[in-house]
């Protein structure tokens, strides 16, 4: 009898994101759900669990795609340093600029 690995995701409270909790080893879905409940929900610490066969997870960890070696700061709010530009624009609007 072969057992399978099932990944367990946990939602702590209604509306929270599903967060990876860990995994269990079980021969079928029914037992996987029982084990997941025992390990990740027996204290009332979970609002919802997702139990997913590990082989159903498709992974992408290619750094060329996820961490490409180019500046991506234009995609993030922190990539825009506007403090001095804003000051100058305000000065100009006030008519201080020469």
């Amino acid at each position: 009898m072969t057992e399978r690995v099932w990944e367990v995701f946990r939602q702590e409270d209604e509306g929270d994101p599903m967060v990876h909790a860990g995994n269990v080893n079980a021969p079928d879905e029914e037992l996987a759900v029982h084990y997941a409940r025992e390990f990740y929900g027996r204290r009332g610490e979970s609002h919802r669990l997702w139990v997913v066969p590990r082989d159903a997870v498709t992974e992408l960890d290619d750094p060329d795609l996820l961490k490409p070696p180019f500046d991506r700061s234009h995609k993030r709010p922190g990539g825009y340093i506007i403090k001095h530009k804003l000051e100058r624009a305000k000065e100009r609007a006030r008519g201080d600029a020469t």
Partner: protein, 319 residues
Amino acid sequence: MNDADTIQPLGGPQRYAAGDADAFFAHVGSGGKVEADDWMPDEYRAAVLKFVEMHANSELMGVLPERDWIMRAPNLRRKLALTSKIQDEVGHAQLLYRVAEDLGKPRTEMLADLLAGKTKFHNVFHYPTKSWADVGIIAWLVDAAAIVSQQALRDSSYAPYARTMKKICWEESVHIMHGRDVVLTLMNGTTSQRAMVQEALDRWWGPLMQMHGPPTDPAKDKDLHWKIKSKNNEQLRQEFLSIYVPRILELGLSIPDPELRHDPDEGRWHYTEPDWAGLKSVVTGHGPASEERLEFRRVNFAETQWVRDALLGSATAAA
């Protein structure tokens, strides 16, 4: 012109190619993490497996001294708390065997090795318990000594282990409170109850001081080098003493070590050198309760075989 208006090349995190052991060790040495499916050198895999398997064994064997007290717990709330702690500890064993399984050793093999005495478990679980105060001292101080090491393992380079430690530490903190509550209740009781706690502390102090293991040469400690663990044995023992000696003394208990003192100049505790030869003998299966505990596990494993057969068998039939 502002730098933010130009395109900058980024350094990016240090990566390693499969098969490149030097780059791998540079990665973990600089604080990098490893996932179960990542390539890793065999010696790293073997070291993590050995570490996690010993931890799992300890959780599984550690419930046996406490199990003896379920039927003797002084009231229903204590009985529920103790049963719940035992369930937690067995759960920790299951979580840790799961981590170890992903490193390539099947659970059945790990259990077989444990039952055959081929693999080890922590020294403190090789001793008998003699009174209800032992249950309090174990839950308070043995779990406290364990949590000091486990908290340091939350930074382990092997990420699935580190994540499991976060969950385990959270549960252990409940056990410490339960143990401290048991001890406090006894200390606020009768003279003979206080004497019972002192006797228990006297019994457990030696094993507690041995628990983190002898000081090792950090330069030669591969587990440290590869950041499988982040603190050495002596650091853990010093940390345990700093937190718990004051908490023990404030209750009016005395610690059975005339050499124990804190040197503020050196910033460290001095203590009578623990019996390291005795520790080695105990963890290799020659402790006062080693054989009895292993025999209990063997009988229990044989008696519960039908449950595993039924669960796995019915799943086969349904599939």
